[in-house]
Amino acid sequence: MSMCSPNRLAYLKKRRRRTRMVRFCQFMILFLFIGLWEGLARVGVIDAFLMSQPSRVWRTVANFANNNLLNHIGVTLFETVAGFAIGVVLGILIAFILWYSNFLAKVSEPFLVVLNALPKIALGPIIIIWVGAGMQAVIVMALAISLVVTVMEMLNGFRNTDAELIKMARTFGASRLQTFIKITFPSNLHTLFNCLKINIGLTLVGVIAGEFLVSRAGLGYLIVYGGQVFQMDLVMTSVIILAVVAALLYRMVVFLEWVVMRAVKGN
């Protein structure tokens, strides 16, 4: 550590204290919420049968060996990761094709706009009939929700690449494909990661919606099933696990961004 002036030390101390205070408040809110929920359910102000209760959620989680919880989490995770990966690869590929051919981009523009505005959940029954009821329908549902957004975001990013950089590459005689590989794609890494962050959320929406419609496993299935048999413990547990899964997946994308950006930009 280098020597710091007293003012600097005071400033750093103040900043650390502020960060600690923010963390403390966040934990307090969570703690109070859970505490209040548990307490009110115990004294009977709220009906634990309708609202469930933290201790019952915990019991459901702890009982994972018997209620197949891990299997359900695994299924949802698999569907999400599969839908996410296929969506990203396919989305970038389509965006690349539309970037490459201005004519195709112009032709497809109104269709993309309509597809983007269409609530993709409406395609559910069609998807089930076309690809069959099961995991594949859930993945296609997730794709339907995330793909158009990926294509439009990435295409927009590709198009807004600094024209001077492209001119520079062209002065060396770069082909359109070379321009894409050397200039357009790398200068859109930020667009890509912003897109991934939006996509991970959208893909989860698609997976849960898909599981609502058709499935025999997964957190979405558990939520619907729990609702039908009036087991609110199961519903609440699934929702809470889903929140944790969503947060973890998002953090993973952020981590990936950090790794890639560090590798690419040096420090």
Partner: protein, 247 residues
Amino acid sequence: MREILRFCDVSLTYQAENGEVDALRDINFEVYEGELVSIIGPSGCGKTTLLSLIAGLEPPTNGEVIISGTPGYMLQKDNLLDWRTIRGNVLLGLEICGKKTPEGIRYVENLLKTYGLWEFRDNHPSQLSGGMRQRAALIRTLAVKPELLLLDEAFSALDYQTRLVVADDVFNILRREKKTSVIVTHDIAEGISMADRLIMLSKRPGKVQTNIPLKFEAANTTPLKRREDPAFREYFKMIWEGLDVHV
């Protein structure tokens, strides 16, 4: 002297949505090996278009651009890619041309060493000063061994002091590497101080208005020194009157 570039009755008309734009009309001039030619003219007279024609980025509507050898292009901004190191940046041209051979790499590494960027080879562009970045951009262009160098307002993104120094720097590198160059600028002083010959274009549609050799008392000096030469002021006055600038 060998002729590197010749414009024969070159005209260029753009087709825009709201009509035709006559950018250049009946351009005729030659550039010989080893010459530094500056092209100046009022803004919008088609200077950059002229370079695009030489670089083959656009075809002329009429006439012919004859060029022997490959052109290298240096733009206003350095356009260094911030996701690449300096070494990666200066190798970009070779990669695109498919000439990233051991000899090519050695040549580029020598350029980096000669022009003081070797110790920064693993740095990223954001860690370099404006002048050094412009130097790196020049090395990226030189890497593909162009016979003719095109500089398009290559210094105008820099602040005034840096600009004078970098112009000197680039001039010395061009002389040392014996590169035939065409320098486009809107800065009359820069145009005069850097070149052996000066071509002035008229307002749109751009035509060659003046094409004169520049002679200074001291033969081998730098652009900065030339600005103090008595001939410099004469040329400046002549060009200024020819430009006929009104607000």
